[in-house]
């Protein structure tokens, strides 16, 4: 289901029509068979795309770059969402 949503979004973006899922998170629950849409906002404190980005290259991903390859040092500015780990995980 999710893979098909991704394929559809890709086709829309490549051809250039429709409303892409930018700033919207579509969630899918197969058991209840529910789709929900959550609005997403840009985080002005985002270390990558925020107002004062700290990530300007991929060095953060290099081995030995402070333990966790993808984590950004905690500066106390993390949005509340930081505490809620993503519910969805492996594509597998």
């Amino acid at each position: 289901m999710i893979g098909l949503v991704q394929a559809t979004e890709a086709i829309k973006l490549l051809v250039g029509f429709g409303e892409p899922l930018i700033g919207r998170l579509l969630t899918y629950d197969a058991i209840g068979m529910n789709f929900r849409e959550v609005k997403l906002r840009r985080d002005p404190n985002c270390p990558l795309c925020g107002q004062n980005p700290r990530i300007k290259d991929l060095s953060i991903h290099m081995e030995g770059a402070g333990g966790q390859v993808c984590a950004v040092g905690d500066d106390g500015q993390g949005a509340p969402a930081a505490s809620s780990a993503p519910a969805a995980k492996p594509g597998g």
Binding site: E9, L48, A85, P90
Partner: protein, 306 residues
Amino acid sequence: MKTLREMLAEARRVVPEQGPAELKAQLDRGEALVLIDVRDPDEYRDGYIDPAVNISRGFLEFRVASAAADPNVPIVLYCQTGLRSVLAAKALKELGFTNVTNLAGGYQRWVQSGLPIAKDSPLNTDQIQRYSRHFLLGPIGEKGQRKLLGSKVLLIGAGGLGSPTAYYLAAAGVGTLGIMDGDRVDITNLQRQILHKTSDIGRPKVESATETIRALNPDVTVVPYPVRLTVDNVEEILKDYDLVIDGSDNFETRYLVNDACYLQGKTNVHGSIFQFEGMATVFAPDRGPCYRCLYPTPPPPGLVPS
């Protein structure tokens, strides 16, 4: 019974006409107008007036709304000599389109006036048939199909998410599909990873994926990457693609895809699933949030099952 001449005269009384020079000037000024070529698709393929869309006379009333949603938008119709299109324009007026003009002398007079024409790279006969159902969809059409055939998409992961995505993109005629996955096919994959078959067990996933896609659509060039995405290979690989689709199964890769896509200005179509739940969104640099806006930090190890 009316003669053809009477019908044309009647249409000309209600449909204003304009000449090629006048249309050219309007187009050059960038005026908002919808230009429709009402000839048959094979005539359009031989050359048309840019940026005309092709809706042949027989389908005009059925499909005009896909080109002109607003009935008050200025519409200019043309055919080869201006006869079919004047009748077509009258029909559109009767449908309620208020601002319809006919190009006097049609495409022929446009060409004779020495004005520029456009001609799309030809699709072969098989492609015209294969994608004919796309041509019926207004927003895609032949132009959209050409864009798809010229597009390059990188799929990260040929597993549960990447399998259906690759299948549908290949079927739709996305011209180049890069497929990246460092894993081999395992029997436990087969209940959901539909790119791979029982006989593929033990083979690199990108190999079986390549075979499956080539068998489905020979128009698609598959570029297999039998490796895991790393900080050392990501920039070099990404730069060749128009769009990235993240179907990976781990947070390290997702952050890496996110960061590399943002830094290169590439749109990332993100998806993830866990058991019966899934989510999808599009991260378009500076047009919306990125993965780090959504998840500033990865979950602590052990919180999420692997």
